[in-house]
Amino acid sequence: MKLSATRINLMVGTKRLLSDVSIDVQPGKMIALMGPNGAGKSTLLKVLAGEYTGFSGELSLNRERYHHWNSAQRARVLGVLPQQSSLNFPFSVEEVVLMGRLPHLTSTPHNMTVVSDVLERVDLTHLANQAYPSLSGGEKQRVHLARVLAQLWEDTGLGPRYFLLDEPTSALDLCHQHQVLRQVKELTRQGVGVLAVLHDLNLAASYADELVFMDQASVQAKGQPQEVLQPALLSRIYNTVVDVIPHPTQARPLVIAS
């Protein structure tokens, strides 16, 4: 059981966005998808999220061909947190989070319990009745995290669940970056497979089980942080001089760009 993409090619016009890309998201593991801007990370995430159709290659979800899933059932096992959301209607925070329950057929009282549990978990209970458009960028991002957490809250009998995140930490301060990634890491302990596009190499190294580096529409390297965080590789991909030293207090490498 996994979310798996095999030999994906995607052309838009004459531009090759993905070239022979394969990736497996395993239940209970967290993959950080890394690489410079324009490498194809978000495109790959969108392919896995079902947003593109014009690609070649194999896509499967829990041993079933991806397009055999009907959209409502797929939404019960696959949640997506996009880079930014353009909601500008004055829903309350609680209402936005409740939308995560849309694919489920559970009762309203149960849904309300899930929402209040989720809000507590992401530390948003005090904002539950605030109007969404009045929140700061970072708060909005956490509301959407809560919405997807509510969507993936429980096992629905359709196999392991997966969570795709596109730069979840970009709008957040240091404290909330770690808070969000801790939440996501916590999900992997419940058997959820996670794929997150991240830019911060050190953040990725401290949370992800596997790093996948993309550049120029294809996968350049993948493996555990200790294996792939090599100065030569990073310097080549990012076109910047990079040093890697052991972390002073933790058992992981520390990347320094100079």
Binding site: S71, P82, F89, P90, V96, L102, L105, N111, P133
Partner: protein
């Protein structure tokens, strides 16, 4: 795991208890207000009928044993009742379609009239009035009352899809392009109506003038029933999409991730609102601003949740049109002001106020 119960029934996403309770109260208040306005509109007019007589007549329809006077009954049954029912239908159709179109296009300014939909319906309806009479005469009588409605529906559907097509590029739908295209197509359809005017004879000209300003007058039970048979199902069906419409406000990709089939939901909702608006325009002409003002007021009071917004808009739209029609009939009595002028005189300043408010608050 055990708490996940597939079998349990729910309408989907629900509101927090406080806001839901408030919304339900408002819907009850609106319903009571609507009943009151309905009885009022039956009582007011050239022949003033006492409130109590109207109530006793209405009660007699419901099976209570009353014997109202014959004149009263005739005036109400053949003139005022069909007109009031038509007001209910048209008001709900315009307000629900307005709210739905604003949700589908994720823009609170997307009024059916502003994006050219009403214009498309008017052009098709006027073309049928002027050129279609000889053709319609061949249709069986029961179909004749539908021919105009059907033409208006097709007209508004074609324009809505055209505007949506122009506004959609590979990057998604641009709201400013949508509004600009809607305005341009609105002008084109109005010119089309103007051109057709040259081919019209005197009787047809009077019908056309009525179209451009809107009126609930001259409605017979046959027309009202034909309109009801299309507007009521269209509005009820739009309400079935409420939860999915909420999710679509997050964005199309996000709605897709929540299991909503965005393409098909959007097409269904555009078709349904084109049907409701087309029928309303075919029967009552161009009644502007209802589809814009009513959903706005409701949204400001109840919030954007379509599960409450759509039914509350239906009630408020019907209420607003009944009141506007009472003003239209009584303000310059015995002369009658076209109802489209009344709604525009109330709605226009509201719209301007809205633009100023948006400018100052940078939001809805």
């Amino acid at each position: 795991m055990t708490s996940y119960q597939k079998a349990s029934i729910s309408t989907g996403v629900s509101l927090s208890k406080g806001r839901a309770w408030k919304s339900q109260c408002w819907i009850i208040v609106l319903a009571i207000g609507l009943v009151f306005a309905f009885v009022m509109s039956l009582a007011t007019g050239a022949l003033s009928i006492p409130f109590a007589d109207v109530v006793s007549l209405l009660l007699s329809y419901l099976g209570f044993d009353n014997t109202p006077s014959l004149t009263t009954a005739q005036v109400i049954e053949s003139i005022r009742l069909p007109r009031a029912v038509l007001g209910l239908l048209v008001g709900s159709a315009l307000a629900v379609s307005g709210a739905t179109i604003q949700g589908v296009f994720r823009n609170p300014l997307a009024d059916p009239a502003l994006i050219g939909v009403s214009g498309g319906a008017a052009l098709a309806a006027v073309a049928v009035v002027v050129f279609g009479q000889s053709f319609i005469a061949y249709l069986p009588p029961w179909l004749q009352s539908y021919a105009l409605l059907f033409a208006a529906f097709i007209g508004s559907l074609v324009v809505t899809l055209l505007v949506a097509r122009i506004a959609t590029s590979s990057l998604g739908m641009s709201i400013s392009t949508l509004l600009l295209a809607g305005i341009a197509i609105g002008i084109i359809t109005m010119s089309g109506v103007g051109v057709i005017t040259y081919f019209a004879d005197d009787t047809q000209l009077r019908t056309l003038t009525f179209w451009q300003m809107g009126s609930l007058g001259g409605s017979t039970w046959g027309v009202v029933m034909a309109a009801a048979s299309l507007i009521v199902p269209a509005c009820l069906l739009m309400m079935r999409y409420s939860s999915r419409l909420n999710a679509m406000l997050l964005g199309e990709a996000e709605a897709g991730h929540l299991g909503v089939d965005v393409q098909s939901v959007r097409f269904h909702l555009i078709s349904l609102s084109a049907m409701a608006v087309g029928v309303a325009v075919a029967i009552s002409g161009m009644i502007g601003f209802v589809g814009l003002v009513i959903p706005h007021l409701v949204r400001m009071t109840l919030g954007p949740d379509h599960r409450y917004l759509l039914p509350a808009s239906a009630l408020a739209g019907a209420l607003f049109l009944l009141v506007a029609d009472m003003i239209a009939r009584t303000f310059l009595a015995p002369a009658e002001i076209p109802i489209g002028l009344v709604t525009a005189i109330i709605g226009g300043p509201f719209f301007i106020g809205l633009i100023i408010y948006r400018g100052q608050h940078g939001a809805l």
